[in-house]
Amino acid sequence: MSEIIKIEQLRRTFQVGSEEVHALKGISFTIHSGEFVSIMGASGSGKSTLLNILGCLDRPTSGEYFIDGTAVSQRTKDELSTLRNRKIGFVFQSYNLLPRTSALENVELPLLYNNTISGKERRTKAITALEQVGLHDRMMHLPNQLSGGQQQRVAIARALVNDPVILLADEATGNLDTRTSYEIMSLFQQLNREGKTIAFVTHEPDIAVFTNRTIQLRDGHIVGDTPVVMQSAKEVLNNEELRIEN
C-alpha cells in the first residue's frame, strides 16, 4: 500500500504576544492508501492544527510532511493552493456552502480553480460526485432548501469532485444529530470501501468506532495509535430502527 501521508517530527508553535504556544510537539505517523483514520483528543489537544497542516492550509514550524510522495514543508503559498486543489478534499463542521448557489454549482467550485478542466468536464464530474453522495435528485436545490445532512453531503461531494488522494474532515458530524451523523459516517464508509483514504477529526468515541484506526492526541503529543475493528454505520442504523419499531 502506498503512503498517502507521512509526517515526521512535526511541530507547530504559535506566537501569541511574547508567549509561545506549542500546539504540536513533534508528531510522526504515516497514513496509507485506503485507511480510514480518526483523530481524537480533548479540546485544545491540537487536532485542528494537525488537520490544517495535513490539508496544506498551514505550514509546520518544523518537521517533514509528504503528501502522495510530494514534500510540502518548503512550498510557497501558491504551490500549497495548487496542492489543496489537486490532492485534498476538505469537509468542515459548518458545511461552508456558498449561499444562493445550487448544489451543483457548489460542487463545481473547486474545478473552477483548475485550468486543465473544461466546463463540460466540470459539469460531468460534479454530477458524478453528487450521485456518489446520493443527491442526484437535489442538484438544483439551494443550500437553504436542503437539510443539514443533505448540506453536508453536498460539502462531501465538493470534497470528492477533484478526486483527492485524501479526504480531511474536521468534526464533520459536529452539527448533526446522532442519526444523521451515522448516515454521514455510513457515506464515509462507503467512500472508504470504494478506495478513498480518509482522516476524520472527532472527539466523540462512538463516531470513532466507524473508522479503522484511531490516533489519540493529548497536549500536542500522540498518546495512542491503535487499529479499530470497524463497525458498520449502516448496520448500527438498521439495528436502531429495528429497536424503535419493536
Binding site: 490539508g55 493552493s81 495548487t82 489537486r86 461552508n96 473547486p110
Partner: protein
C-alpha cells in the same frame, strides 16, 4: 486562473446579491450620466450660441454711443448724441474693409391695423440694414435710398408682426398700418428667422427708413447705433480699427483723447460667449465629477462590506485551491463589472437626458465622443482604483482564520 472562469466566478457572486449590486451601480450610473449630460449640454449650448451668432453674421460690426464725461458727470447713455448720420457717410466713403453700413434708430410703440393691436419696435436704417442683419425679403421689396431721403412712410415687417396684425391671413403687402398713430405702408415681408439664443423672436420686427423714424416718430437728429458688415470675418479686426480711426477724426477728437463711441464685432461677442459657455461646461462637469467620485467611493464602501461579509466564502475558496491572486482578481473583477455596467447604463442614460433637454431647449444634440470614451475609461479606472483595496484585503486573509470567522 482562466480569465473566463474568473469572470464567471465574479459575475455569479454579483448575481447572488442583485439588489446590492444594483444599488452600488446606481452611484456610478448617476455620476456618469450627469457628467455625460453636463458635457453634452454644455457643448450643445455653445454650439447653439455659435450657430446663432454666425447666423447674425460673424462679420457684423456695431458702433455704440458711449457717454461722454461732461465736467466729471456721467450722463446716461439715453441722451448721448455722439453718433450722427454723417458718421455713416464718412465710413461709407473712407473705409476699405467695410461691405455695407447703416445707421440704426430704434423706437417702440403700438402697432395698429384696424381692430388688431401689437406692441412692437421700429428699427430705422438705410436700404443696407436688411442685408447687414442677415434678413431676406420674402415678398415685396426693400425701400430705396430715395425713400430714405424723403423720409417715406414705408416699412418692411417680420412674420410675427404679420401674424398679429393680419390674423385672417390676408396679404399685408400694400396695406397701411399705424405705428404710434403714424401711418406706414407695408412694402415688404421678411423671411422668418425664428428665435435667437436669448429666446428673442427675431421675426417680431419692423424696418423702416431711419430718417422716417428720426423725424416722424422720435424727433431727434442723432442716431442710436451704426451697424456695418466687414468684407469678411478675417478682415473684421482691420475694419474695426478703420472705423475707429475714421470716427475719431470725424468727431474731431484730439490724439489720445478717449473715444465717445465703442466699436464691437460679433466675433468678440462669439469669443466672449464661448469663453462663458466653456467655463460653465467645465464647472458643470466638475460638479458632476464629484458625484462620480462619490459613486466610486460607494463602490469601495460596498466592496469593503462585501469582503467582510464574505470572509467565510473567501476562506472556503482558499481551502479548495484559490490562490491569493485569484481572490484579488475576483473582487477586482466584481468591482470592475459593477462600474463598467454602471458606466454603460450611465452613458446611455446621460445621452438620453441630454437628448431630451436639448430637444426641449431646441438646441442641437451633440454626442461628445471624447467625453463618452473618457467616461468609459474613468469607469474602468474607478472599478480598479476603488476595488483594489477591498480586493487586496480579501486576498491577504489567512485561510484558517477566514474559515473560522463568524
Amino acid at each position: 486562473m482562466n480569465i473566463f472562469n474568473l469572470f464567471k466566478i465574479a459575475y455569479k457572486a454579483l448575481l447572488r446579491n442583485k439588489t446590492r449590486a444594483f444599488l452600488t451601480m446606481l452611484g456610478i450610473i448617476i455620476g456618469i450620466s450627469s457628467v455625460i449630460a453636463m458635457v453634452s449640454l454644455g457643448q450643445s449650448s455653445s454650439q447653439s450660441i455659435n450657430n446663432q451668432i454666425s447666423s447674425m453674421g460673424t462679420n457684423l460690426i456695431m458702433v455704440m454711443r458711449t457717454s461722454q464725461r461732461q465736467g466729471g458727470v456721467n450722463v446716461g447713455s439715453a441722451n448721448v448724441q455722439t453718433l450722427m448720420a454723417k458718421d455713416v457717410d464718412a465710413i461709407r466713403n473712407k473705409a476699405k474693409y467695410i461691405g455695407a453700413v447703416s445707421p440704426l434708430v430704434n423706437a417702440s410703440g403700438q402697432l395698429v391695423n384696424g381692430a388688431n393691436n401689437w406692441p412692437g419696435s421700429v428699427q430705422g436704417g438705410n436700404s443696407e440694414l436688411i442685408s447687414i442683419r442677415k434678413y431676406k425679403i420674402a415678398s415685396g421689396t426693400n425701400f430705396t435710398e430715395q425713400d430714405v431721403r424723403n423720409s417715406a412712410k414705408v416699412c418692411i415687417v417680420g412674420k410675427t408682426v404679420v401674424d398679429n396684425l393680419f390674423p385672417n391671413g390676408e396679404s399685408p403687402l400694400g396695406k397701411m398700418i399705424r405705428f404710434n398713430k403714424i401711418p406706414f405702408k407695408i412694402i415688404g415681408v421678411l423671411e422668418s428667422k425664428g428665435q435667437n439664443q436669448m429666446g428673442q423672436d427675431q421675426d417680431d420686427v419692423i424696418i423702416a427708413p431711419y430718417t422716417t423714424v428720426q423725424k416722424r416718430i422720435l424727433a431727434i437728429t442723432y442716431i442710436h447705433m451704426i451697424m456695418a458688415s466687414a468684407l469678411s470675418e478675417e478682415t473684421a479686426g482691420l475694419a474695426t480699427q478703420e472705423i475707429e480711426t475714421i470716427l475719431h477724426a470725424n468727431h474731431k477728437l484730439k490724439a489720445g483723447q478717449a473715444n465717445d463711441f465703442d466699436v464691437r464685432t460679433q466675433k468678440e461677442m462669439l469669443d466672449m460667449m464661448n469663453s462663458v459657455t466653456g467655463f460653465l461646461t467645465v464647472l458643470l462637469a466638475a460638479i458632476a465629477s464629484i458625484s462620480l467620485l462619490v459613486g466610486g467611493i460607494g463602490i469601495m464602501n460596498i466592496m469593503y462590506v462585501t469582503v467582510t461579509e464574505r470572509i467565510k466564502e473567501i476562506g472556503l475558496r482558499m481551502s479548495i485551491g484559490a490562490k491569493n491572486k485569484d481572490i484579488l482578481l475576483q473582487f477586482l473583477c466584481e468591482s470592475i463589472i459593477l462600474s463598467l455596467i454602471g458606466g454603460i447604463i450611465g452613458i446611455l442614460f446621460g445621452l438620453l437626458l441630454s437628448y431630451l433637454a436639448s430637444k426641449g431647449l431646441s438646441w442641437p444634440f451633440i454626442i461628445s465622443i471624447p467625453s463618452v470614451g473618457i467616461s468609459f475609461l474613468v469607469c474602468a479606472a474607478t472599478g480598479i482604483f476603488f476595488g483594489w483595496y477591498p480586493a487586496k484585503k480579501a486576498a491577504s486573509l489567512d485561510p484558517i482564520n477566514a474559515l473560522r470567522y463568524e
